[in-house]
Amino acid sequence: MSILDYFRGKKSGTANVAKERLQIIVAHERGQRDQPDYLPQLQQELLAVIRKYVQISDDMVQVEVDRNDSCSVLELNVTLPER
């Protein structure tokens, strides 16, 4: 921090970086918190079934649950490789 910054009262610290990083990671983890416990295993098993027929990588199957007031929707997104 330069002398000029000192007189201007400017903050050059790292706390704002910490805050930004925390806000992002905490929001992300809260999103996963509400997901049912079986979701990761369901994703693995679906992946295994699909792999019997097509070769795909782990990140090509996305499983999410959207909860509304009256019902929950299981959203399954499979990206198939290009031929």
Binding site: K11, S12, G13, T14, A15, N16, A18, K19, R21, L22, Q23, I25, V26, E29, R30, R33
Partner: protein
């Protein structure tokens, strides 16, 4: 019916046991019959912080397994006569704390005590889950530091989904944020997360701010709860937190640095 309060954090070394010792002592000093339970099986330390390590004969696990009665295991504090300590086992496995066993002990304590303070181990394993399961309220001890804040958020998620209150659909566990090891000078310099930053991220009500203080090590050296050091800022901060926990309105203190004059800046290096 006793009020059951868990002192928890997720992360280790943030001040759970220090806080449990001070909060239980502070509540008991106000005349409420209080017991503080150490849930850290295998890593017993509350006894040291409370200066009763040489008086431990039976422990929490002995009571759960029917090898001793509660009265045999409870240690009466020598400074505050309404305070009792239930030490944990140093030799058993964590799994010795069964849900049923813990419930039995807590129910029995509820008959005679006003407050039950549960000192949680670090982590989110079995011991930590048992410490928070029966809680009515939680004091979430957090340092103004990234890993501690993240772990506190994780513990809040667990309180909201895995506690008895959550599982039985009762009113949720009441959450309190206790920010410890706070250094207002570093916050001013932009080097440390501020109270407002942590409150914004965790979004739970603030119980108090405990300033980083040399007195904390000094008191643990002697087995003296910090709250009994009433001349110190940390001791007063704990006293404020206890007063708020018991429903008293007290303005927040110790959140800002003492503004130093020009000369003390020059001679003490700012």
């Amino acid at each position: 019916m006793a009020r059951i309060i868990v002192v928890t954090s997720g992360k280790g070394g943030v001040g759970k046991t220090t806080t449990s010792a001070s909060i239980s002592t502070g509540i008991a000093k106000r005349g409420h019959k209080t017991v503080v339970i150490d849930f850290d099986v295998g890593l017993r330390n509350l006894d040291l912080i409370m200066n009763c390590e040489r008086r431990v004969v039976y422990d929490f696990v002995n009571v759960i397994q029917g090898e001793a009665t509660l009265n045999q295991a409870l240690i009466r504090d020598k400074r505050v006569d309404t305070l009792y300590i239930l030490p944990t086992s140093q030799t058993r496995e964590k799994e010795a704390l069964t849900k049923e066993g813990v419930e039995k002990v807590i129910n029995e304590l509820s008959e005679t005590f006003d407050y039950i303070i549960c000192d949680s181990p670090a982590g989110i394993e079995h011991g930590a889950m048992m410490a928070l399961y029966y809680a009515d309220e939680a004091v979430v001890v957090t340092n103004p530091e990234v890993s501690s804040v993240r772990d506190s958020d994780r513990i809040l998620g667990i309180l909201q989904s895995k506690s008895r209150r959550a599982e039985t659909g009762q009113e949720p566990v009441k959450e309190h944020l206790l920010l410890t090891r706070y250094n207002p000078e570093r916050v001013d310099r932009g080097e440390m997360l501020s109270v407002a930053d942590v409150e914004e991220i965790l979004a739970i009500p603030l119980l108090g701010v405990i300033p980083e203080s040399q007195i904390v090590l000094n008191s643990s050296n002697q087995g003296l709860p910090v709250i009994l050091e009433m001349e110190s800022d940390a001791g007063q901060a704990y006293d404020d937190a206890v007063a708020r926990l018991l429903g008293e309105e007290r303005e927040q203190r110790f959140m800002t640095s003492q503004k130093k004059g020009f000369f003390s800046r020059m001679f003490k290096g700012g």
